[in-house]
Amino acid sequence: MSDAYLTIADLRVGFASVPVVRDVSLAVQRGEFLVLLGPSGCGKSTILKTLAGLIAANAGTIALDGTRLDPVPPHRRDIGLVFQNYALFPHMSVAANVRFGLDMRGVSRAEADSRVAEALAMVRLADVEYRLPSQLSGGQQQRVALARALVVRPRLLLLDEPLSNLDAALRAQMRFELKDLHRRAGLTTIMVTHDQMEAMAMADRIAVMQAGAIRQIGTPADIYDRPGDAFVATFVGTPPAALLPLSVAADGAVRIAGLPWSPPPAIAAALAPGDALLCLRPERAVLVAPDTAGALPARVVGAEYFGADWLVHVTVGATPAIVRTGGPAARGDMVGVLISVEAPLFDASGARRIDRIFSMS
């Protein structure tokens, strides 16, 4: 067992025929903010509820701070969980909601009073303590749920899609506040989200999940710049990266998306005969004249204007791709797409990164 604060080893949840979580192993350091990122149904929330003891694991072990958690019932785990819909007790006031965990622990009245006030102050909600949850806005409910989980000083804080029920403006604000709170409280935190922007902005490390398994764990920069496989490469990044099929014949002739391509010498040198997938990020390519050396041959199918920039939709052969540009392009034009920064290369199945092609610059 490693010396990490939280260790999950070979965790399996669900039935043999329908596994929800498949043999997941994960180590989290004390004070770390880890984000489980993945599409809905990938098992990320299940891991959270298994950690809280609300779902029983079929196999594997969980250890927190050196002790096994598996045999501990949920109410003795001291793990704070903030639910996606907040799960505030509708029949209790804000103060009673926050105080609930302290009541369960038999904390004295005086101490409970001061800790509830402290927790509400921490989430900047001191003035609504006697209201019912139904009288609060979504953002306020979110803070109450947070205060309720924090007031018992949990050993681990779990956040299940905490921002998904807020409107866009509030989401951006709470994102920052949550991260700030984590910095101040220093709590080891695991957050689940399907929103990669949230994950990138908040995480110390991101674990990208798909179909019950972790595809890659790393810092946001690792995940974005050095994706481990084609799924991670396309799941992280908006708009998503394009995967262009690349083949190198024995004589060194290169075809991309079925079209002949003479890659720049630096790339050509890195290629070996065989098939591969080239990952093209919209913000890591530029549009150039079609006859530019090393550029991919492409045809413009449309452009969207976003104020700060344009998204030009092109096709390379039959494969669609997007390039973020500073200006428009006319539908039907032939253009060149020049890879401006390093682009990952995967094997033909997309399961493994095999190499990188470096741009000319």
Binding site: K49, A52, G53, L54, P73, P74, H75, R76, R77, D78, I79, G80, L81, F83, Q84, N85, A87, L88, F89, P90, H91, F100, G101, M104, R105, R148, A149, V152
Partner: protein, 258 residues
Amino acid sequence: MSIGAAVLTALVYAFVLAPIVVLVFSSFDTAPYFSFPPGGYSLHWYATAWQSAEYRDALGVSILLAATATLIAVPAGTAAAYALARATWRGRTVVQAILLSPLALPLIVWAIELMQFYARIGLSGTMLGLALAHTIIVLPFPVRIMLASFARIDPALEQAARTLGASPLRTFARVALPLAAPGLVISIAFAFLTSFNDVVVSSFIAGARSLTFQVRLYSQLRSQGVDPITLAIGAVLAAAIVLAAIVCERLFRWSRHV
């Protein structure tokens, strides 16, 4: 909405509610045998009813019986409903069907067999036997009503309580039960009224010492016809129930629970 449906609906409601209205109306008639239009109006029969020890005793038996049956059936039914609402094992629907079976199976058949069953185990004519029988006929109501009440509670609320340190028992007491409180009140009301209103089971197995108000009223109707005293008592009961039903609807929206 078509005019035809509205008119028909009004007529149906008039028909359904007419007996209660007529009952209250006729209880103020002075004559011992009601005829319409009445010769005069008085509270004579209310005064007589008030002094009737016979009916007072019967009402006492009915209330004691209904209270006993409710006191057993509501906690037992609530506990069972909670277990069923949170159950995931196979066969829970079978258990549920069994607990609700008195609503689906003809009670008269059961009452016939129960007479025989009681004769064999020596419960015939006893208050205990009657109370047990009433417990059975009221038990499905708390089961059904509380099952629906517990099912409406977001499972995340109870999970939240668990992660905050509440044991399963305290989670039930502090979260599930308070949130199902309206269902509990309605269960108590339905259980009590079902027992209080029962005629068939009581008249089959009631002993001479445990005649309920309904059995007394029934035998009176069979042998002598309408006794104006019963009109007065019936009018008071009906008025009280109607009032309670409307007040409870304002407070708990009970009509959504049936």
